[in-house]
Symmetry: none
Subunit: 354 residues, 2 copies
């Protein structure tokens, strides 16, 4: 297993080879996920459960808030399977859950779950009604005070329909977005997504400030993690943003917030890690999103795929039906710098499917 | 994979089984490497680049200060390949570079590179012109103040033509040396080396003190690391000297310096680890060098060889064309006490050669 450099140089990730990681899962619900067919990241009608189930499966290899592990209609299993498999072969030193607005709290003992009194945000085409400044400040405060005994943080997400709110957020902030955003669907359901995004953007006035825009069209994960990134730079934490176009959007938020404050950051301790399914996706363009940042960024993609598997559910990943989530891209990069063997990892993932 | 005990007992290395290592590469240039045909550790005419390229390849798996990885005229690839392969299969927790006089600084981000304002030393047959006391004290000071979060240090070297300055240093200090020193050539180019050593020793007066002798005929790596070893004993650091006859010479320097100061050390936390190609070399005798120490020392050799490879460039190792460098012997011992499989390691090394 290995990784490719999307932007920047290999040095950051090579430096982390063999070092210890804390895995933080930012789990959040936006009611945007209730729009029919907007995402296949979970069970239709129950997408709000996905982040809860992902947190449970990642930590415990069981789902407790539902009988069965979240499966999509076509049977694409959650990428939490991949992250969990990596964790079993070379455990993260520490896993913690950030509750950024969940309908159902994960039923997990011992693992730290951080609460911030954040509610699930509303449908973006209806006005998300987020107190964006408060959520942002919670992220800054949390990172500034976060004590770590490991060498770096992997900051992941589970937010069903999160690419829709990410796309809307980036567009509201004035970035070029057309055809740059990924989706958990192979045939990106652009009509529903685009209609939702259009509906959301109608609520934005050109002279709204950054936080007003985000309050309307964004989600808690994006805003909190933008704060987290800014807070982390104050204390030299090394942070891997674990995700695809949603995590790229976190960086776009950071960029816009800095611009509005005429601030600057040293971004040398931040990187983004994603999957091959994202970096090679023909229906999105993460590099084009990252190239709009005014600060330099290291970005990497794992080279892992399911060529060694014959399992039809996993083959769907290679066919573009699922691409990212629950930090699986960063987990795969972590696997690459921690000597995990592709065959062994493939078998481990298959073992969860029975 | 396993290791043999050259001197002492297995206990030291067995104690380190499964424990975490920091890998320090002391990289240094002696202009002795400019003497034609004195070493094949690099590209003829560009041997001064070898330690820079070795540092880059070890950390990043790329060489940045030259287009291609250092290859010798006969195509013996740098032992950095072996050390890097071990690092990929079972990462060292930490790699740092000690710049002990480089012409070209390695182009590496994030990894710590320690500078000591030490210049490359001059040709030993011309007078090396080293401020030996200052370099020694820098080594003592560095080790005395070095903070480690791992269980032990692997202290390696990359110094082209370093066996020549090591041989001259040991001889100048009065040790029996004839036919005890190794070379990166199979057919040890004894004429050129011996002429150079003779030229160097002409500059030595019998009643010169230890540091005056070393100032003339030694190199920065040997002197600094002698200081490092003495400094390390003050704080109970466990240190593996990673190399062959050059690292044995570091211990001879320690021995002579202690004698001149009528000092003693507790050497129980120091060991030397090298390759099978050194321990079984018929043209050198590392054991005979180590037996001249007045303190006890543990010394080990890996049992790794390229019997499982068909690659002609790697077969040259088994034929005695290359034997040590960039800590490959200690890396192989580390592999042995960290469950790395010989077949897997052989394949990993081969993968770098295409």
């Amino acid at each position: 297993m290995n990784f490719e450099t999307i932007l920047g140089s290999v040095d950051f990730l090579e430096y982390l080879r063999g070092k210890k990681a804390t895995f933080l899962l930012s789990a959040s619900v936006t009611k945007t996920c209730e729009i029919p067919n907007i995402s296949q990241a979970g069970i239709p009608g129950k997408l709000f459960l996905t982040p809860t189930l992902d947190a449970e499966f990642l930590c415990l290899k069981e789902v407790r808030s539902l009988e069965d592990i979240a499966q999509t209609p076509k049977g694409v299993p959650t990428p939490a399977l991949i992250t969990r498999a990596v964790h079993e072969l070379k455990p993260f030193s520490n896993i913690e859950i950030l509750d950024l607005g969940l309908d159902v709290k994960p039923k997990i003992d011992y693992f730290k779950t951080h609460s911030f009194d954040i509610e699930p945000s509303l449908r973006i085409d209806d006005g998300a009604k987020i107190d964006a400044m408060a959520v942002f400040q919670a992220g800054v405060f949390f990172a500034s005070n976060y004590e770590i005994s490991d060498d770096y943080i992997i900051l992941a997400e589970s937010v069903p329909s999160g690419t829709t709110s990410a796309n809307a957020s980036a567009k509201a902030l004035g970035y070029s977005c057309d055809s740059y955003f990924s989706s958990s669907f192979k045939n990106n359901p652009s009509d529903i997504k685009n209609k939702t995004i259009e509906g959301a953007l109608k609520r934005i006035k050109p002279d709204d400030d950054v936080f007003t825009k985000l309050s309307n069209v964004s989600d808690n994960m994006l805003i909190f993690n933008a704060g987290f990134i800014l807070g982390s730079t104050s204390k030299d934490l090394k942070v891997i943003l674990a995700g695809g176009t949603q995590m790229a959007t976190v960086l776009l938020l950071v960029n816009s917030i800095l611009e509005s404050m005429q601030g600057e950051i040293n971004s040398s301790n931040i990187a983004l890690c994603t999957t091959k399914w994202i970096s090679e996706d023909e229906n999105s363009n993460i590099k084009a999103l990252l190239e709009q940042l005014s600060f330099p960024i290291n970005a990497y993609a794992s080279d892992f795929d399911f060529t060694e598997s014959a399992h039809p559910a996993l083959k769907l990943y290679d066919q573009g039906e699922a691409k990212e989530g629950v930090g699986c891209g960063a987990a795969l990069c972590y696997a690459a710098i921690n000597s995990i063997d592709k065959t062994e990892l493939t078998k481990k993932i298959e073992s969860f499917l029975g």
